[in-house]
């Protein structure tokens, strides 16, 4: 992989900038030549004002700075545009990824690439090209001019430059090794910091956070000791490397050499002056790129991550999309496992007839949620097939599949727009009345009226006034508006309070419609007594399967579950013997 490939969309602009920056450097050299001309004229005749050289100096200066600013801005514009292009490209890519990939990557990682990594490119695209041009063009042209003046000293300057470069690349190589360990240490410490911050409210309840802070402190100190020692171990070479391209080393050698040569009449004063003026400029022109070195390393790492996301496989669209003609769902020998991980579902065979009510039960981790995720292809089955209306769901166009399924998950995401807009999200021409009607059916209307701006209250990250149950009811209101033939419900295990729970169940019951295919994951056996079929999952397999009455009669497992359910429901914290513990 080539890092510079990232430039491709703005290649022309970047090369343009490099070209302009190179010309600017030639102009800069000519400014210095003008300075020499000024001096030379005065040496020839001290009584004549060097008008022409000074005017040319002025003109060239203005040209140079204009051109350089232009080159600098040009590459910056290119960088800004590239950010935009890459983000657009990447977000389209993310949109095509299977939901599974997005979940595996982690939301945080994708957002980081989309925002931060692309930002990291800036130095690589905006600052580096003109500075690199400068570091490259200036030495070459300067040396060329110097060779014309005096080839002996020019050779010396060339040799010094070469030696400095070699020395530098040697030190850099050493530094690169260090850089890697340093980066690793940095990654580690960063995750420690994040954990400390995120766990803040938790750690405070143990011992006012002393233990956690102690650990955090220890991690910080470890890190700083390790890094400190590394840096100490090569401090001299680092410092010398950083100072080599300052003006001093070259100046010292040249001042001595030139003075002795002039004293022995081997060169004239103007040559001495020329070399002092121009040769030192070589060092100066390389210096800026050096200071960019660290930032560029970071940019390169960011580019690699961007390419990584771009190379992820996308969800394949069917070549000959088919239309299902009914809404019957059939699982045939379906299995699922996450990459390099244990099997989550195996050998699942279910027939979910159109307009039936199917309940999924089982302990947490038994695969219920995974199973529901296979239907809208948030996950793809790793073996077997799932058909909808007789058509393999992979043969159905994704948007078509989506348009048939509504789902309410445990954790429902609301967008940062008004509650009304969240309810009618994705639907066109829905009047406020319809929204209110749906909210009433979802038992959320009364609650919305208590909010400061009622239906216009903002939801989303900053509007955290909504509990999980309330968000879920808002999602249910949307489902009423969507009115799609298949409804998938994943009932939450935790309710925030008694009223919420009752309302939610009421809303759920309204969704279980005779004209819809309903699939419901639940923990509350009392809600599914009327289901057309109950499926009990255990360790990813269907253990038993039938109606409530069937199962109560024929399955001891179910019977036990039903008894336990009722027992747990009636549990209360023992209070009579609270004080007895002391005895």
């Amino acid at each position: 992989m080539n890092h510079t490939d990232i430039f491709l969309p703005v290649k022309n602009k970047v090369s343009h900038s490099i070209f302009l920056a190179s010309i600017a450097q030639v102009l800069k050299l000519s400014i210095w030549l003008m300075l020499i001309w000024v001096l030379h004229q005065l040496m020839l005749d001290t009584s004549v004002f060097p008008g022409l050289p000074i005017v040319s100096l002025l003109v060239l200066s203005i040209l140079f700075y204009t051109l350089r600013t232009y080159a600098h801005d040009k590459s910056h514009y290119a960088a800004f545009e590239l950010e935009k292009i890459l983000r657009t490209r990447l977000i389209k890519k993310i949109n095509q990824l299977p939901i599974e990939t997005v979940r595996n990557m982690g939301n945080g990682n994708l957002v980081k690439t989309l925002i931060d990594d692309i930002k990291e490119l800036h130095a690589f695209v905006a600052d580096a090209p003109p500075l690199k041009a400068e570091a490259f063009v200036t030495p070459i042209f300067t040396l060329l001019v110097l060779f014309i003046f005096n080839w002996v000293f020019a050779s010396i300057v060339f040799a010094i430059t070469l030696v400095t470069f070699l020395l530098l690349s040697f030190i850099m190589k050493k530094a690169k090794l260090l850089k890697e360990s340093y980066n690793n240490a940095t990654i580690q410490i960063n995750s420690k910091i994040i954990e400390y911050i995120q766990g803040m409210s938790a750690v405070r309840t143990f011992d006012a956070g002393e233990g956690a802070f102690g650990q955090y402190q220890k991690a910080l100190e470890n890190y700083s000791q390790v890094v400190f020692h590394w840096l100490q171990s090569m401090r001299l070479s680092t410092k010398i490397a950083r100072s080599l391209f300052s003006a001093m080393p070259m100046s010292i050698i040249l001042v001595v050499g030139l003075s002795l040569a002039q004293l022995n009449d081997q060169i004239s004063f103007i040559t001495t002056f020329c070399f002092l003026l121009l040769a030192i400029g070589i060092a100066e022109s390389v210096h800026p790129v050096m200071s960019l070195f660290q930032i560029l390393q970071k940019s390169k790492a960011a580019i690699e991550r961007i390419f990584e996301v771009e190379n992820l496989p996308i969800l394949e669209a069917p070549s000959n999309p088919l239309l299902p003609d009914n809404n019957e769902i059939i699982f045939k020998n379906v299995g699922f496992c996450y990459q390099n991980s244990d099997t989550v579902l195996s050998n699942i065979n279910i027939k979910i007839p159109e307009n039936s009510f199917t309940a999924l039960i089982g302990t947490s981790g038994s695969g219920k949620t995974t199973l529901t995720n296979l239907i809208p292809r948030f996950l793809d089955a790793t073996s077997g097939t799932i058909t909808l209306g007789g058509v393999n769901i992979k043969e159905i166009e994704y948007a078509e599949l989506m348009s048939r399924i509504s789902f309410v998950f445990q954790d429902n995401f609301l967008f940062s727009c008004s509650i009304a807009d969240n309810i009618r999200y994705g639907l066109e021409d829905i009047s406020d009345e319809d929204v209110i009607e749906a909210a009433k059916k979802a038992e959320i209307h009364d609650f919305i009226l208590t909010l400061p701006q009622q239906y216009n209250t903002l939801a989303g990250e900053r509007g955290q006034l909504l509990s999980g149950g309330q968000k879920q009811r808002i999602t249910i209101a949307r489902v009423f508006l969507q009115n799609r033939p298949i409804v998938i419900l994943d009932e939450p295990t935790a309710f925030s309070d008694a009223r919420n729970e009752a309302l939610l169940l009421k809303a759920f019951n309204r969704l279980i419609d005779k004209n819809k295919t309903v699939i419901m994951v639940t923990h509350r056996l009392s809600t599914i007594v009327n289901a057309d079929q109950i499926i009990l999952l255990d360790k990813g397999m269907i253990k038993i399967h039938g109606t409530h009455n069937d199962l109560i009669e024929n399955s001891s497992d179910y019977k036990l579950l039903w008894q336990e359910y009722n027992k747990a429901k009636d549990w209360s914290i023992p209070v009579n013997n609270l004080a007895d513990g002391e005895k």
Partner: protein, 585 residues
Amino acid sequence: MKEYINTDTRTTKSLLKTYIGLINAAGKQKKILIRSLIYTVISSCLFGVSLVLLYPLFAALETKNVTATVTHLIIVVVLLMGSFIFKVLCERYDADGYSTLAVTELREKLGNKLRHISLDYLSQFRSGEINYLMMQSVNEAAVFTFMLLNIIITGVVIPLSAAIALLFYSWQLSLMMLLVFPMAIPLYLWRRKAYRRGFSILAEANAKLKGEAVEFVQGLDVLKSTGQTKEKMTEFIKVTTDVANILRIGTKKGEKPNLIITIVIQVGLILIISLGAYLVNAGNISYLLLASVLLIVARSTDVLNYFVQMSSMLESLVIGYEKLQELLNAPSLPEKKAEIMPDHYNIEFERVNFSYRGQDKYVLKDISLQIPEKALTALVGASGCGKTTITKLILRFADVKSGSIKIGGIDIRDMSQSQLMSLVSVVFQDVYLFQDTIINNIRMAKLSASDEEVIEVCKQANCHEFIQNFRDGYQTQLNDIGKSLSGGERQRISIARAILKNAPILILDEPTAALDTENELAVQKVINKLVQGKTVLVIAHRISTIIGAKQIVVIDKGEIVESGTHQQLLQHNGIYKEFWHLQQN
């Protein structure tokens, strides 16, 4: 672009304060930082002076005076070598790792701060913002500051010292230089304000961009099912276009002023050269002096321009650093160490009022409440009624606005945080697990606990069995499997922590709600043991779990509306009765 204007970050602070603040960020390493910066000053001074002293060298060379040449050559070389040595020395702060120490110190300070400010204050930060402050801003403040200050000092000191040294040879040229170089300063101040405005707008736009990205990625499944991916994508692309435009406009706007600054400086330099040429014409100075002046001019051009460029970067650092300062200066919860610890553990709320930071509305109004020891008290109410706030106040996540909370007659504000926490165990609904081994995650509640002790409490909490089933048992690292622990397993780990801590007061936030039936029965058994002999405060969602409570307190909109035993409350026709009937169906 109006939507991105944030008045908080738009105004610039005084220059001196800013620089002093940045230097103070180095903490204990401040001395080394200042020393390093002084070395930079010395190095630049020596270099500037050496440029002027080229003149006597040139003069000696011109007259072929060997002794004078050698003397002056030695002087110049010594100055240059000195300059080089100090340059090497000045890299010490960064290259020898002192900046790393400064970073660590600053992070330690911040980390310590985080655990002393009220969590209420902490919650005002956007998610990720604190992370950014502790990682990026700290790094910038401690490391880049040095780099930038170095460049800025070089840009100022070289021309300045040369100008002063020139006084010995030509007061006119020296004066001229002293007039020209400071011109950069008012120009810089003028630009500084604009940079500030630009960065402020950019920061807002970037925050918006991040928000959009988070929404898109997190809400992707909903977007797909509602068929709105395109719309949301368009929105994201609009904001990213806005960001690109803000950047472009910022650069565009800066283009002319920057050009003007550089050209003004350049014209100033040319004026110096012209004056020099004129003085040579007038026979006032030798062209050899002009030669050294030309060298000064050539060397100053680059550093001056660099200085102009870098000052914009400095401004963006300053914005980050100011936020950092704000956090460091946030008020800590006042903390006293109690002389005597309570010997009984009833909790008493006396006319407590509380409102969250920056909000006028009281979430708790005039709460007076006795929570007796060795008994069960339950809090009941709709979500958002304030029952969780009551438990948070006992834990001192924030302080009451008025009134007081006492444990065993001692005001909790008269105890240190660790004293208070030693009295209370908590089992929350969402259990935070650290990226550490399981055993360490449990030991967190009592650092001195032996392995045997931990295993013993795990057995009591019914988590020994599933922990044993992991390949590495208690040594299993939670970062790989943290997510695959079920709600019930996490909950039981949390209960194990509470048992291990064995504090006299126990706060339970509906501990079994998140569990499936099998887990629920297991957890219920544990809780039966856990509550023995303790002051227990339960936030109840399912009323059936607390019908035996000594006291049930019903909260509505921040006020206590009913309290009593289950039977007493059923006599009232109040909220409690309504809840009870809702749940019975």
